[in-house]
């Protein structure tokens, strides 16, 4: 029986004197979708960036697959372990074509044939992207860009996908599609750690949820239980639950 895929222990991150994350503990089990909920500024993106090696943690440990300590690795090495990122606000390479963005997703592999095959699979799955594959990524609509961002992350066939606010700025119908997509590739074995403000839809697909408030994990439990709690509605008063 293998342990959790990702274990974040006692993670603290300070920006100068300001604590962004304080003593956070969370795990992602193999095959699960785990969601971190919290308002703006709660520290969600900081946690994601710390896992990716893009943000220096002040203390704590981040272990992948049991033994591998991520804090001693650089971002490109962390990606090579099988962790991919769907950044907040998509952050596509806007001056590159859709196809080139997908190719960048497969950068870590030097096996061109495999990468091209995986890209072809992605384009089959997303026919709208296939139509626009030579277009500059920056010229696509918000929903299409989100598809590119997700496809880009999936090209490397990651074991763990880190998603930062995938619903941000998208129309409700598109958000529904996005969450359905997450469920779909999770079913194929990809574990997901998602950060979201859209609590309702995220909790509907997640197995486990964490609540982050000013850098601290204040709530942790099975998604259904967290969804039923009163304070969830408090934290998201005004348009989310």
């Amino acid at each position: 029986m293998t342990g959790p895929l990702l274990t974040v222990s006692n993670l603290s991150v300070r920006y100068g004197a300001v604590p962004a994350v304080a003593d956070a503990n969370l795990t992602v089990e193999q095959g699960e979708i785990r969601v971190i909920l919290g308002a703006n500024g709660a520290g969600k993106t900081t946690i994601i960036k710390s896992i990716l090696g893009l943000q220096k943690a002040t203390q704590g440990s981040i272990r992948f697959d049991g033994a591998q300590e991520l804090r001693s690795l650089r971002p490109h090495q962390i990606h090579q372990l099988g962790i991919a990122w769907v950044p907040e606000g998509r952050q596509l390479f806007n001056t590159l074509s859709v196809l080139d963005n997908l190719r960048m997703g497969g950068f870590a592999s030097t096996d061109r044939a495999t990468t091209e095959r995986r890209i072809a699979t992605m384009l089959e799955r997303f026919p709208r992207l296939a139509e626009r594959r030579h277009q500059l990524a920056g010229s696509l609509s918000g929903g299409e860009q989100q598809m590119v961002a997700i496809a880009r992350a999936l090209v490397s066939q990651p074991r763990l996908l880190l998603m930062d606010e995938p619903s941000l700025g998208l129309a409700p119908m598109v958000v529904r599609d996005v969450f359905a997509l997450v469920r779909e590739f999770n079913a194929s074995g990809i574990s997901v750690l998602m950060v979201e403000q859209n609590a309702r839809q995220a909790l509907a697909i997640a197995h486990w949820a964490y609540l982050l408030e000013t850098g601290r994990v204040v709530e942790s439990g099975p998604a259904a239980k967290v969804a039923a709690k009163d304070n969830v509605k408090e934290i998201f008063l005004g348009g989310h639950a």
Partner: protein, 289 residues
């Protein structure tokens, strides 16, 4: 009419050298976010590496070009390792000043060896008039032009069609995201500096062989213009840099031909002032730093 076309062609030829140096500048800037003031002197080193190679090894043009590229590339590698890398992440002004210091050292150091005046450069190719329509152009000028276009073509292919070239553009736009998709930014940064330096080296040998002279202070000539081209074009699009460089060459040639040769250098500066006033990010836009 013939004179006009003649001047335009001359302008394109000199503009193509500006383009090669400017593209090198621009590539390094967008990938490393540093202004490498020593780049024009890497150009100069390439010129002299070719010169020494021609005297010591062979005056076969291909050999001299390779030696020029190698010399420039080697120095670019050393510069990246010793000066640029340690200053990564610090204020961009630090690298600017440090590389400026290197530039001054190189120029004066070379002046001690080769003297402060222009020295003779083997011309490597025969000069023969070539007639295109009614225009006469020397075979050397044409070869210089062809070489520059070849180098630019290579650079364009590299950033467009190769894995590392794509990664270079990705880093220019979003370095964090690129790194998070497996790009080792340090390695690409080094490769970019070496490539930019080698390109400059080839262009330098080409220019030296064209005019039959090398000069330790030649860097200031091309470097300043190339820097201006980069600022005017913005660093977002490779093609923009090439277009502005060629355009500058043509306008300079027209000014020299029709107005006065003493105003030639003023063109670049006037252009810079105008563009910075109306479009400070450059004509074609820039990536945020």
């Amino acid at each position: 009419m013939i004179l006009l076309l003649q001047q335009i062609l001359n302008g394109l030829i000199i503009g193509s050298t500006y383009a090669v140096v400017a593209v090198g500048f621009s590539l390094v800037f967008t990938v490393l976010r540093v202004i490498n003031f020593a780049h024009p002197d890497i150009f100069m080193l390439g010129m002299f590496a070719g010169l020494w190679g021609a005297h010591l090894v062979s005056s076969n043009i291909v050999v001299v070009l390779l030696l020029g590229a190698a010399g420039a590339g080697l120095f670019g590698l050393v510069l990246e390792q010793v000066v640029i890398r340690p200053l990564r992440g610090r204020d961009v002004l630090m690298t600017l000043i440090a590389t400026l210091g290197v530039a001054i050292m190189l120029e004066n150091g070379m002046a001690l060896i080769e003297g402060p005046d222009p020295v003779a450069y083997p011309t490597l190719l025969p000069q023969a008039p070539v007639h295109l329509g009614g225009i006469a152009i020397g075979s050397r000028q044409l070869a210089n032009f062809a070489l520059s276009l070849l180098v630019l073509g290579f650079a364009s292919w590299y950033v467009r069609a190769t894995r590392y070239g794509r990664a270079t553009r990705a880093i220019a736009e979003r370095p964090d995201v690129a790194a998070a998709f497996g790009v080792n930014v340090d390695v690409i940064a080094r490769i970019t500096v070496v490539l930019a330096s080698m390109m400059a080296g080839v262009a330098a040998v080409s220019v030296g062989a064209l005019y039959g002279s090398a000069w330790v202070f030649v860097g200031t000539l091309y470097g300043l213009k190339a820097f201006i081209v980069m600022l005017v074009a913005g660093n977002r699009y490779f093609e923009g840099v090439v277009a502005v460089a060629l355009g500058l060459g043509v306008v300079e040639a027209l000014v020299t031909g029709y107005i006065s040769s003493s105003l030639t250098d003023a063109v670049a500066f006037c252009l810079l002032i105008l563009v910075l006033y109306f479009r400070p990010d450059g004509l074609f836009g820039s990536y945020a730093i």
